[in-house]
């Protein structure tokens, strides 16, 4: 009985992971977007300091 439950858990775990990875892949920014994020954060940060 335990073995069946565990097998199902394994499959469910894999499903969640796959779903999670797919989501992350779609959301992941390009290196260019990352640069832009940092530059805009620092631009705002600088004007806060002034």
């Amino acid at each position: 009985m335990v073995t069946y439950v565990v097998t199902i858990l394994l499959v469910v775990f894999a499903g969640i992971k796959v779903f999670h990875y797919r989501y992350q892949m779609k959301q992941a920014p390009s290196p260019k977007q990352l640069s832009r994020l940092v530059l805009s954060t620092l631009k705002r940060g600088q004007s806060d300091h002034e």
Partner: protein
């Protein structure tokens, strides 16, 4: 005029993307572009780590955790299996899940790392901004200690991420106190500002003389935009002529900026004018052609260099 000092500048380390210059402290999450290993904020030794390494570490830890859960479930399944059918079932499911997750992880690791970087930059935006402000203060301290070249190098690093006129101006002011040489790792486009600035224009003039290759579209656009104000500077005409001399370097620039060349062709040195002459001759018409031919008739008609072109 202030006496310029001879300096040696360390080469600038260029990276494909600006954020790759950032380091983060493992201990206090202080961000910096300056420190090599030790944290300037909390003082901990060898605590700095590049943000990319940090993100890679988080992703790796996540992969390990996934692997651990997989191992645990597979082991429990095997331990409790009461028949060979169950054993085969667990092994098959475990192997299939492992293959699937391993392939996905392998393929998605770069994207997952970028995701982590985004999280890091968003979560610690305050630390990021204050970290770079602390870097700037450190540069000012070095300046007050009298080490100008090192100050410039620090400002150059900070300037790769912080794009504001004050920082650009500070760099230009320092550069103007140095004896600039051809072999120095200099830059110009990152220092261009929106507004007119005489120090920037003087710097452009110097670069146009020693490193023509650094003068590109944005610089041409800048000098054309502020041409009238540059002309009101004592050496304004010479600077514009030097920039025109840089435009002669490529056919593309000569096509793009005929106005600049028409206005300042007269002030070009002979070798520059010869290049322009060859280009204008192939174009055969237009105001630039007329002006070049006029100058040729006046100054170079009997020069042997101009005969066989």
């Amino acid at each position: 005029m202030m006496k310029k000092i001879a300096v040696t500048l360390r080469p600038y380390n260029r990276v494909p993307f600006a954020y790759q210059k950032l380091k983060i402290c493992r201990n206090c999450r202080h961000f910096t572009v300056l420190g090599e290993r030790d944290c300037m904020s909390c003082g901990k030794a060898s605590a700095l780590q590049s943000v990319e390494k940090k993100a890679a570490g988080i992703v790796r830890r996540d992969h390990w955790l996934t692997g651990l859960v997989w191992l645990l479930l597979s082991l429990i399944g095997l331990l409790f299996s009461s028949s060979s059918l169950q054993t085969v079932l667990v092994i098959a499911a475990g192997a299939a899940v492992a293959a699937l997750l391993w392939t996905l992880q392998k393929r998605l690791t770069p994207a997952l790392r970028r995701m982590q970087l985004q999280k890091m930059f968003q979560q610690y935006r305050y630390e990021l901004a204050s970290g770079l402000a602390i870097d700037h203060q450190a540069a000012i301290r070095v300046f007050q200690e009298g080490d100008k070249p090192r100050t410039y190098e620090m400002l150059r690093e900070i300037g790769s991420l912080v794009h504001n006129d004050q920082l650009k101006l500070e760099q230009i002011m320092l550069l103007q106190t140095f004896q600039l040489r051809k072999d120095m790792d200099l830059m110009i486009e990152p220092l261009l500002m929106d507004s007119f600035n005489t120090d920037l224009v003087s710097y452009i003039g110097e670069i146009a003389k020693i490193r023509r290759d650094l003068i590109k579209e944005n610089t041409f656009r800048y000098v054309l935009l502020h041409e009238m104000r540059i002309l009101s500077m004592p050496s304004g005409e010479a600077i514009l002529a030097a920039v025109a001399g840089a435009a002669v370097r490529k056919d593309r620039y000569m096509t793009m900026y005929p106005y600049l060349l028409t206005r300042y062709a007269r002030f070009l040195p002979k070798d520059r004018f010869l290049r322009l002459f060859k280009y204008a001759k192939s174009a055969r018409s237009g105001p630039l052609y007329d002006e070049v031919m006029r100058i040729y008739e006046e100054k170079y008609k009997w020069e042997p260099d101009f005969q066989n072109t």
